[in-house]
Amino acid sequence: MSKGPQKRTLEGRRNSWGWVFVAPVILFFSTFSLYPILMAIWTSFLNKKLLSLKPPKFVGLKNYEIVLGSADFWNSVRASATFCLGVFIPVFTLSLLFATLISTRPRGKRIYQLALYSPAVLSSVVTASVWLILFDPRGLANQLLNTIMNTPGIDHKWLADRSMVQISTMLVYIWKVLGYYTILFVTGIGKIPQSVLEAATIDGANARQRLFHIVIPLLKPTMALVSVMIFISSLKTFSTQYLFTQRGAPVGPVNVLTLNIYNTALHDQNLGKASVMSLLLFATLLLLSWLQIRAAGSGSEIES
């Protein structure tokens, strides 16, 4: 299109305005994304300490060796993976269920959506601080569980016990994000052509048949998108774990990768190690994002 002579035409000159419009964002992303990620790769080969005046030494792959050989890193991988899976299953199934219920009830649809979404409006630190009080030994979580299980006066150690603190962080997260994913599903279901559903009803398909044979197959792209999004965002969880451990919860069980990176960089001041961990997290997220783009791509095929 834009070969030699055409460049001098009016349209060619106008199109070079495109550069003027994109120049600011190119400048921004080179400074605040490209440059730091290259620096992170470079730092991962150095024995760099925060606040140290000694010039850092090039140590090759030693940081990678240390990280991959440390029990602490693998504990974080376990913590992140447990969190991810523990959050994924309930969030995915519940948001799909709620979205189906909401979509089949046009009356009050907006109110349901607003109510379910309202926890997502809170910032994550506020969320964590509210739940911190609910999980207090004398708090509502204990009272509720004791009423249900008929075990008066027992402290379930929501923030102290190894497995309970993991469950607590998951509960907080599930409560916060459910509404968001429900709305994604409601949007997805809304795109299913009504005519198909009506035709099936006329042909005698009942609600269950319509769900399993029409809604779910047509919803596959949204499901793929939502699953990958849950994985990506739950791998980035930080605030709840940070606040809970600041308040005295044991670090080990909930030491997710982001928390470990933060503590390694700021408290141990070991930037090389922190860079290695953040690059490994980046690689994982990159893989998941690639899956997300594929999922979204298959979505537009269905739409067109």
């Binding site: 419009f21 994304s33 219920l101 349901y112 994550s124 601080s129 459910l178 940070y242």
Partner: protein, 292 residues
């Protein structure tokens, strides 16, 4: 007899369907209730003394509203009003980031959507690629650079890394792809300069996308904990999330006051939510809605 036998299955079906539907609605209402309960708890507890917040059995309505919680939450235990200062910081950072990201993203998004310049696809793919870089991966180099440039404990340090976002550029490009070319050409024929076309035609007509993105960016900063934790060491330059962490980590903190702090932190976003809920819900739908 025959007629009833013929009709019965049909009637039973309708009845079963109706009870099913009612049960579903009841379940949905219960779920919505559960979702809102912690919010109601936060509101109620913000007006109680700490001992009442963690009393057994818990009473949802404060015996005597304790408005002084809000006074104490703002003035702090040392009476230095640090929270008030931090709220102001959050407002400054969030509104600056919201306006700059809308401005820059619509500028860049317009360039990508409406001009066929050489290398456009490369630029677009490059920007999409940065969308996948998690902040955790770049925060340490960014921090070191910021320290070198002396941006610690400054608004510039808090704001600069978030001036715009790749997702914002993507959102704006998708939205502007559908902008009518005839309008742009008509303006050109009338002798409008390219910059003026962007300002007075494109930007002014991108309302929904601008609102969605502005809210997204505002909330992103209102919620941002990690970066302010790194870059702001001085109390005066902390933002709300960092203040809450410090306040909550203090084991002696009164639970009622803690909830008052939380309520104050949530007020601005809830005002936005109730006045512009369309763009909140739209913001959630953007992900699955704009990839066509």
């Amino acid at each position: 007899m025959k007629a009833t036998a013929l009709f019965r299955p049909f009637e039973r079906g309708v009845l079963a369907q109706r009870t099913g539907k009612t049960l579903g609605t009841a379940f949905l209402i219960a779920v919505c209730g559960i979702a809102v309960v912690p919010l109601v708890f936060m509101l109620g507890a913000s007006l109680m003394p700490g001992s009442e917040v963690v009393s057994i059995p818990y009473r949802w309505i404060p015996e005597e509203p304790r408005w002084s919680n809000f006074h104490r939450a703002l003035s702090g235990s040392d009476g230095k009003w640090a929270y008030l200062r931090n709220i102001m910081n959050s407002l400054i950072v969030s509104t600056t980031v919201a306006s700059s990201s809308v401005f820059l993203a619509s500028f860049g998004g317009y360039g990508l959507a409406k001009f066929k310049f050489k290398g456009r696809n490369t630029v677009f793919m490059g920007i999409m690629a940065t969308m996948m870089i998690p902040f955790e991966a770049v925060m340490i180099p960014l921090y070191l650079t910021a320290v070198k440039l002396g941006l610690q404990d400054s608004y510039a340090g808090l704001i600069l890394p978030f001036l715009t976002s790749a997702f914002g550029v993507f959102l704006m490009r998708q939205y502007l792809l559908g902008f009518p070319d005839e309008l742009l050409d008509a303006a050109r024929i009338d002798g409008c300069s390219e910059l003026r076309i962007w300002r007075s035609i494109v930007f002014k007509n991108a309302g929904p996308a601008v609102a969605t993105l502005a809210i997204l960016a505002f909330r992103g900063q209102w919620d941002n904990l990690l970066w302010p934790l790194l870059i702001s060491q001085r109390e005066e330059l902390k933002t709300i999330p960092a203040y809450i962490v410090r306040y909550t980590a203090d084991l002696g903190a009164d639970e009622g006051q803690m909830m008052a702090v939380a309520v104050i932190a949530s007020l601005p976003v809830f005002v936005l939510f109730f006045t512009m809920s369309k763009y909140f819900l739209g913001g959630a739908g953007v992900y699955s809605g704009s990839k066509s």
